[in-house]
């Protein structure tokens, strides 16, 4: 099966200083890959580079193939065609990921219309928007479609953001800390929703997080980043079960100690 995203020897520099060095990973259709590491380890930069949206002043070298097209070195115009079809993104903070002055239904409709326009098909936008809202389990879609982001709860906002990503019908979904801004109960619900959607749509998922337990339940394979370098990668059970690198071991033990502390307290 062809990989949706293949990153090989990716190095990102800012004014000569490497921020990410020599990272390689791949995501196939239906595969869920986790990218974990602490804040500032280069997780989000790697994801931005994958869609060709690195901030000004940063340069990437190596190879990034998105849907069999090379991203590094190609003109923005060429990569723009991939965005919204090959890949869509969900962000950490759903409040800033949604336009504060646009009703939710209209925001989702924009994504639906854009995708339909590209495919050259005509759709019943209204129906598709409501369908997507049902898909992501937003309650009372007809009414919520008329709400502004500030009138919704955090979980509802993230669901709306997922609906917008789904409207693009991407083959690869990049989720950048999608549950970090949510409380634990909502986290679990959003994770379940993501898992279901990825399975049903046979999408690839690149899941970025610093939260070990979350990654553990959400992905099949994991890549561990530290200070911009890849320290370990492999199937989730292997990496977490028998960590080889001291950093991963430290992460896993910290999480385990936390679990035990909770277990003892209960």
């Amino acid at each position: 099966m062809a990989d949706l995203l293949t990153i090989e020897n990716l190095t990102i520099r800012h004014v000569g200083r490497p921020l990410v060095s020599d990272v390689s990973l791949s995501v196939a259709a239906g595969e869920r890959v986790g990218l974990i590491g602490e804040s500032g380890s280069g997780k989000s930069l790697t994801a931005l580079a994958a869609i060709g949206l690195l901030p000004d002043g940063m340069t990437a070298s190596g190879s990034i193939r998105l849907s069999d097209r090379e991203v590094i070195g190609s003109a923005d115009r060429d990569v723009a065609g991939l965005r919204g079809t090959a890949v869509a993104t969900i962000f950490q903070e759903p409040l800033t990921a949604l336009d504060p002055l646009m009703r939710i239904g209209k925001q989702i409709a924009e994504a639906v219309r854009r995708r339909a326009h590209r495919d050259g098909r005509s759709v019943d936008v209204q129906a598709e928007v409501l369908g997507l809202m049902v898909r992501v389990a937003l309650p009372d879609p007809a009414r919520l479609a008329r709400a502004y982001p500030h009138e919704m709860s955090g979980g509802q906002r993230q669901r709306a953001a997922i609906a917008m990503a789904l409207a693009c019908r991407p083959s690869l979904l990049i989720a950048d800390e999608p549950t970090t801004a949510l409380d634990v109960t909502t986290q679990a619900e959003v994770l379940t929703l993501l898992e279901t959607l990825v399975r049903e749509e046979n999408m690839g998922l690149l899941f970025i997080s610093h939260d070990l337990p979350v990654v553990g339940t959400a992905v099949d394979r994991v890549v561990v980043l530290r200070a911009g370098e890849m320290v370990e990668q492999g199937p989730i059970a292997e990496v977490f079960g028998r960590p080889r690198h001291p950093y991963t071991l430290g992460l896993v033990e910290a999480a385990r100690a936390f679990d035990q502390a909770i277990g003892a307290a209960l």
Partner: protein
């Protein structure tokens, strides 16, 4: 359970504050009077209809000027001139300012730096001084040059504001999300940037409107605005200056007209923000 539906009211209704109502009333009054002069004025504005420098009376509500013309008629026509200058100048300032501001916000670092520095230099010039320079450089004082001069002078402020606001919007995740989903630059401007900077811009336009009215009065006062017999408030003030002790109402009446319109515009500007920005609407 955080995912529960918040119980919101059907759709938040706009609450009109007293300040906004007062502002809208004052501005509305001037608009009505200004429009009325197109079809009717109490007297012929150029005709000598009473004694010179007469105090207010039933026949002449605001008295007469030094040539015996009805002052109230002239003030009414002054409202029309003030409003047309405000509309024209704000339209010019908006067209130039928003375009330049958006270009700067989207431009590369180098272009943006040059534009920003140019705007800062232009803003360092007092608006009135810049407008006077532009009027002086043109063929002669007329209503058109006054509008153009004030509009150009104000456009740098609008441009800088637009640039800052657009930059802030462009840094948001929803812009990245829109780019990831394949929206082009024009689409981002139309769908996200303009609606998000609009509430602040519209307030600024209303404030610029008030400043343009004052600037026009100042230019006319200095003889650089609409030439006589156009009854600009600035010219009325200037003419009344010599007789301010013998006929104080000649200065007080246009002064009240000018102040009431500018205060009205400022109050109106404040209220407009609440209309344009749904996140500020109160339930």
């Amino acid at each position: 359970m955080s995912d529960a539906t918040p119980a919101f009211a059907p759709l938040p209704r706009l609450r009109l504050t007293p300040a906004f109502l007062i502002g809208a009333t004052l501005v509305g009054l001037h608009v009505v009077v200004g429009l009325l002069t197109l079809i009717w004025t109490p007297y012929d504005p150029t005709a000598m209809t009473g004694g010179r420098l007469a105090p207010p009376s039933l026949a002449h509500w605001a008295g007469t000027d030094r040539l015996g013309r009805d002052l109230f008629t002239e003030i009414m026509i002054g409202a029309r001139i003030a409003l047309s200058v405000g509309i024209g100048a704000v339209a010019i300032a908006a067209a130039i300012g928003v375009t330049v501001g958006l270009l700067a916000a989207f431009a590369s670092r180098a272009v943006d730096d040059v534009l920003a520095a140019t705007l800062d230099i232009l803003i360092a010039f007092p608006t009135l001084l810049l407008a006077m320079l532009i009027v002086a450089a043109s063929d002669g004082a007329s209503l058109g040059t006054a509008i153009l001069a004030i509009g150009i002078a104000a456009s740098s402020i609008v441009a800088r504001l637009t640039r800052i606001l657009a930059r802030r919007v462009l840094a948001m995740d929803y812009i990245t999300a829109a780019r990831v989903s394949g929206t082009g630059w024009l689409g981002i401007v139309r769908i996200h940037v303009l609606p998000n900077i609009w509430p602040t811009l519209i307030v600024n336009f209303a404030l610029q409107f008030g400043l343009a009215v004052i600037a026009e009065a100042s230019l006319s006062y200095l003889g650089l605005g609409a030439p006589p017999p156009n009854a600009s408030w600035g010219r009325l003030l200037q003419e009344a200056q010599a007789t301010v002790y013998t006929a104080p109402f000649g200065a007080i009446a246009p002064g009240i007209a000018l102040v009431s319109l500018v205060i009205g515009l400022n109050l109106f500007a404040d209220g407009l923000r609440d209309v344009a920005d749904p996140t500020r609407r109160r339930r």
